[in-house]
């Protein structure tokens, strides 16, 4: 029915398509900011001052840019980096209809593995050590997702429970590792500082011509972008990606089409775990340069990663932009609190509203399309009559 009444196909170029896809998330951000402003005003503060400070805290000011000072933007990017990895991890799971709610556990395992390998491989040349550490952390994350994956595939144990249970186990396991075998010389619950050879270089070290002032953003973000492209390619162009999307779309149809749900599930959850493991590794190698209890437990990148994936509608490239947005909100919040005296928690309210509007958008578009279709069908019927 719908095929016959389709409007003539207009070939969109990539930019038009991107704009159309990004339009609604952008509008959602604007709406969320508007409601956030109302809440700020209701609490007796100045919303214009607040969001101005937020923007400045997240991106800096033109005067700073002119002298090559991208410190604020670097802060945003450094906060966006683990969110990008975690967002990719969760988005990949969602694509196969798997909710990897315990990504935080895989992230912790990746982080502690990175710290361990960093201490072991510290004497090696950087270009040997860092790839090996990253591979090790990814494998650790994948391994931590492997048992939940097998349990899902073999006995149908719900991944929401198993990955979450493994996330708690990871929390205690890593807590023991860093307070026992790997504790620092002073006996604190943290690993020793990693040798500088395994630190991920910051962007000012990589591109001194552009970043003339030290920034916290590091190579990890570029790796995240590369991985986003890789994940997009896997989903779009490979047999595995086809299987993942097919299982995510319709299990029974996929099975009838000869795709093994069990094998696809194991691959999808392990890849998701590997990406989460890299989130932990990038935080350890790029920002903290050691592993301590709060690396993930307090900040919960794995959970914010869920929001990042949802805002990106599980599209790997969109995850990067979504992560930058969440990174910017988090980086600008401090400045907002300082300048406008607005509690930084308003950021979470705005984040929640963004996710809500993006989620509602899908529904609203669908409703409008359905209306139009019904109207067209009615017209078609009257034409016949």
């Amino acid at each position: 029915m719908s095929e016959t009444h389709e409007a003539p196909v207009v070939r969109e170029n990539l930019w038009m398509k991107a704009l159309r896809t990004a339009g609604v998330p952008l509008l959602s951000v604007v709406f969320a900011m508007a409601i956030g402003s109302i809440i700020i005003a209701a609490s007796g503060k100045d919303p214009v001052l607040a969001f101005g400070a937020l923007l400045k805290g997240a991106f800096g000011s033109p005067e700073q840019w002119q002298i090559g000072n991208f410190r604020a933007f670097g802060d945003t990017i450094s906060r966006a980096t683990p969110l990008a990895f975690a967002g990719l991890a969760i988005a990949f799971g969602f694509r196969a209809n798997l909710f990897n709610i315990g990504a935080n556990g895989q992230l912790l395992l990746g982080a502690v593995t990175a710290a361990f390998l960093g201490l072991v491989l510290g004497g090696q040349p950087t270009w040997v050590a860092i790839p090996l550490i990253l591979i090790g952390a990814a494998l650790a994350g994948a391994a931590w997702a492997f048992i939940p994956a097998i349990l899902k595939a073999k006995v149908g144990a719900h991944e929401v429970i198993t990955t979450m249970m493994f996330s708690w186990i990871a929390l205690y396991l890593t807590s023991w590792i860093i307070s026992g075998p790997l504790k620092d010389a002073a006996g604190n619950s943290q690993t020793p500082m990693l040798p500088q050879a395994v630190w991920l270089p910051t962007l000012d070290q990589l591109l001194p011509g552009i970043f003339r002032v030290p920034v916290r953003a590091h190579l990890g973000f570029i790796i995240a972008i590369a991985l986003a492209v890789l994940v997009w390619w896997i989903l779009k162009k490979t047999t595995l990606g086809y299987g993942v999307r097919a299982v995510g779309f319709n299990q029974w149809a996929a099975q009838n089409g000869g795709i093994s749900i069990a094998i696809t599930t194991v691959y999808a959850l392990c890849i998701s775990g590997a990406l989460a493991g890299l989130a932990g590794a990038s935080e350890v190698l790029g920002v903290q340069h050691r592993m301590f209890d709060e690396v993930s437990a307090g900040s919960g990148f794995g959970f914010t990663g869920i929001a990042v994936a949802l805002l990106a509608k599980n599209h790997p490239i969109a995850v990067i932009f979504s992560a930058i947005l969440f990174g910017a909100l988090s980086a600008g919040a401090g400045m907002m609190q300082l300048t406008a005296n607005v509690p930084d928690k308003i950021i979470m309210i705005v984040q929640a509203l963004i996710i809500f509007f993006v989620g509602a958008e899908t529904v609203i578009t669908w409703l409008i399309k359905r209306r139009q279709k019904l109207a067209l069908e009615r017209e078609g019927d009257s034409d016949v009559a």
Binding site: I306, K345, F356
Partner: protein, 318 residues
């Protein structure tokens, strides 16, 4: 050593710790049985815990605090119901958004109302135990009485209410017309609709009940256990409740028993903090035991945890 570890107080503590988990888990059971996924239990507990304290501080009446906690949970769940039933939004998306909203809203209002981040002011009097029997003395009888008093009679009201709710909900779900209809909504909403059950209204009721129970769980945390609200104080309990619901195979009593397992773990965790001397095994290995146990049970003994067939699927009347 072990005698001084397994005191009656440890078991009583387990039941106390299980209470907020159980209330939220039963809420989750009812909600999910109607076909609506509820990962916003965490947020519902959080707003309940927060507004319970706010209203108690404002009015001086802790029972008004309990009512406020329930109302706050219901209001948050009403958003979830509107989004997932009326708007037919993705229920995981809505739940995630509400969890973040609850975290942000409570943190924001805390600073606006009390002028400092981190925690609210403390309430003057927490809700005390229902019974207050004399204990003490020596001899076998006195020891037995101490155990009975601790394990049976030492709790605050919401602890008993949670047990009653578990039993009543189990009865209602399997022995009443409401329960039959509720289960039909989650298994085959089209069939339920065909025989005249109002699917959307039924789902609204179920989601709102889960909000009320989540709010009550929050009230138990702040008004009975801690006496003050601190930032993100539920710290993942809503998600554990979700696991308890699945572990309890989507039944109210099952949810309660699964919560008891986690409650026991939490009680041991607290006990361990004051019991570390001379211990060869690192405390973390004790702490991870319940979670390992759940995985083993899921892997070996329970087989497939099969949820309601129509869970997470919005229903559209034809």
């Amino acid at each position: 050593m072990w005698l001084s570890f397994f005191t009656p107080d440890l078991f009583a503590s387990a039941i106390r710790m299980a209470t907020p988990l159980a209330l939220a888990a039963i809420g989750g059971t009812i909600c999910e049985r109607s076909g609506v996924v509820n990962i916003a239990l965490e947020g519902m507990m959080l707003v309940g815990a927060f507004f319970g304290v706010v209203v108690t501080l404002a009015t001086g009446n802790v029972w008004l605090g309990v009512v406020a906690a329930i109302v706050a949970g219901v209001l948050l769940s009403a958003i979830h119901a509107f989004a997932s039933v009326t708007l037919r939004m993705d229920q995981v998306v809505s739940g995630t958004a509400l969890n973040i909203l609850a975290l942000g809203l409570t943190g924001f209002l805390m600073e606006v109302i009390y002028g400092h981040p981190g925690a609210t002011n403390g309430i003057a009097h927490k809700i005390g135990p229902v019974f207050n029997f004399p204990t003490g003395g020596t001899g076998v009888l006195a020891t037995i009485w101490t155990w009975v008093d601790q394990i049976v009679f030492s709790y605050t009201p919401i602890v008993y209410i949670a047990i009653i709710i578990a039993i009543v909900a189990q009865w209602a779900m399997y022995r009443t017309r409401w329960g039959l209809r509720l289960r039909a909504l989650g298994e085959h909403p089209r069939a339920a609709d065909t025989v005249g059950v109002r699917v959307q209204a039924g789902r609204y009721v179920a989601v709102l009940i889960s909000g009320a129970l989540g709010g009550l769980a929050g009230a138990n945390l702040t008004l009975e256990q801690v006496g003050v609200f601190s930032d993100n104080m539920t710290s993942g309990r809503g998600f554990i409740a979700l696991a308890a619901n699945i572990f309890g195979r989507w039944t109210p009593v099952g949810s309660y028993l699964a919560s008891l397992l986690f409650g026991f773990a939490e009680a041991i965790e607290i006990r361990m903090q004051s019991f570390q001397q001379g211990n060869q095994i690192p405390v973390q290995f004790f702490l991870m035991l319940p979670y390992v146990l759940v995985v083993i049970v899921l892997a070996g003994f329970m087989g497939r945890a099969v949820g309601p067939a129509a869970i997470g699927k919005p229903y559209e009347k034809e």
